[in-house]
Symmetry: C2
Subunit: 160 residues, 2 copies
DNA sequence: CCTGAAAATAGAACGGT
DNA sequence: ACCGTTCTATTTTCAGG
C-alpha cells in the first residue's frame, strides 16, 4: 500500500523542478526536461495517481500574519492509550496556533510546532491548552530562532 | 521589515482557501469569496508582493520515493560560534535526506527532520554526517511514528 | 472593484513509433 | 507502452471604465 514507485530520470527531474516551484507550467516543465508538454501532463498525472505527489501547498509567512514567534512544544501524555491520544491529536490539530504535529519515539510522545503573536500568547497556549489538560503529563517549550526548508526530496538511489 | 500586514475578510478567506488547496483557480476563488476573478488575481498578487504568500510547494510522499522511515535528530554543536554553525547549517540543508532544519533554544541546538530508506541508512547518516563531525557534540535520534499538518494559518485576531 | 476581450494554459483525443 | 501533435474548454491576465 505504501510501496515505493519506480521512477525514471524524466520523473525525477519533474519532481525536482516542481518541488522548487509547484506552479511551473507543463510547457516550462517540458522545455526543461526535453519532452512534450502533454507527456509532462501524463507524467504528473501518474505521479498523482500513484501517490508520489500528494498535493499543492501554499507557503505563508507566519510573521506577516501577526505570528512572529514560533516554538516547538515537547509533550508527554500520561497513560498514552489509544482512547486518550486520538482526541488529543485532533484537539491539537484544530488549534489555530498549530502548524504541525509529530508522534515520536523517546521520552517526549508528541512534538507540536506552533506560531503565536507573543510570549504572552505562548504562555496562555501552553497553560490553557496543554498543561491544564488531564492527559498531558509534561510540556517542554523550545523557541525557534530560525528554520529552513531543505532541497527537493528524491529517491535514495538517484544520486548513485 | 517583517511587520504584520493588514488583511481584510476577503484576503483572509482567500488565504484560508488557498491553504486548503493551493491549486484553487481564481475563478473558483472568486465564486467562493464573492468578487470577480480579476480581483482575486489582484489580491493574490498583493499577498505575494507583501510577503504573506511565500510560494507554492509540492507535497510529496517520502515513502513512495523509497524513504519510508522519518526521524528527528536533536543535535548539540560544540562551541556554537557563528563561524562553525554557518557551514553546519548549509551542510545539513544540502543532505539529500534532510527535509527541514530548526535552530532552537534549550539543550539541543538544532533539530533535523530527515527521511531515509531504512534503519541502516539512518545509522549511516547519523554516524557519518553528524557524530563523526568535530562540531557535533551529541545527537539524539527520535523516530517519527506519524505526522500531521494542521489547519490553515490565519492572523490571531481573526477568530474574535 | 468590475467588465470584457486577448493570450496562455490545461487537459483530452488521436495517431505514430 | 510511451511519446508527440493537434484541438478545445478553461483559465489567466490585462486593458479600460
Amino acid at each position: 500500500m505504501s510501496d515505493s514507485v519506480l521512477l525514471d530520470p524524466v520523473d525525477l527531474e519533474i519532481l525536482r523542478l516542481l518541488q522548487n516551484d509547484a506552479r511551473t507550467t507543463y510547457k516550462d516543465l517540458a522545455a526543461a526536461v526535453g519532452v512534450a508538454p502533454s507527456t509532462c501532463l501524463d507524467r504528473v498525472g501518474r505521479l498523482r495517481r500513484t501517490g508520489v505527489i500528494l498535493g499543492h501547498e501554499l507557503r505563508v509567512d507566519p510573521a506577516r500574519l501577526g505570528r512572529p514567534l514560533e516554538a516547538l512544544l515537547a509533550v508527554q501524555v500520561r497513560p498514552h492509550r489509544r482512547e486518550l491520544i486520538g482526541p488529543f491529536v485532533e484537539r491539537v490539530r484544530a488549534l489555530p496556533e498549530s502548524r504541525a504535529l509529530f508522534h515520536l519515539t523517546g521520552p517526549d510522545d508528541y512534538l507540536v510546532h506552533v506560531a503565536v503573536a507573543s510570549t504572552g500568547d505562548l504562555q496562555r497556549l501552553v497553560v490553557d491548552e496543554f498543561t491544564s489538560r488531564p492527559e498531558v503529563a509534561r510540556v517542554e517549550t523550545r523557541l525557534i530562532f530560525q528554520h529552513w526548508d531543505c532541497g527537493p526530496l528524491l529517491p535514495p538511489t538517484s544520486g548513485i
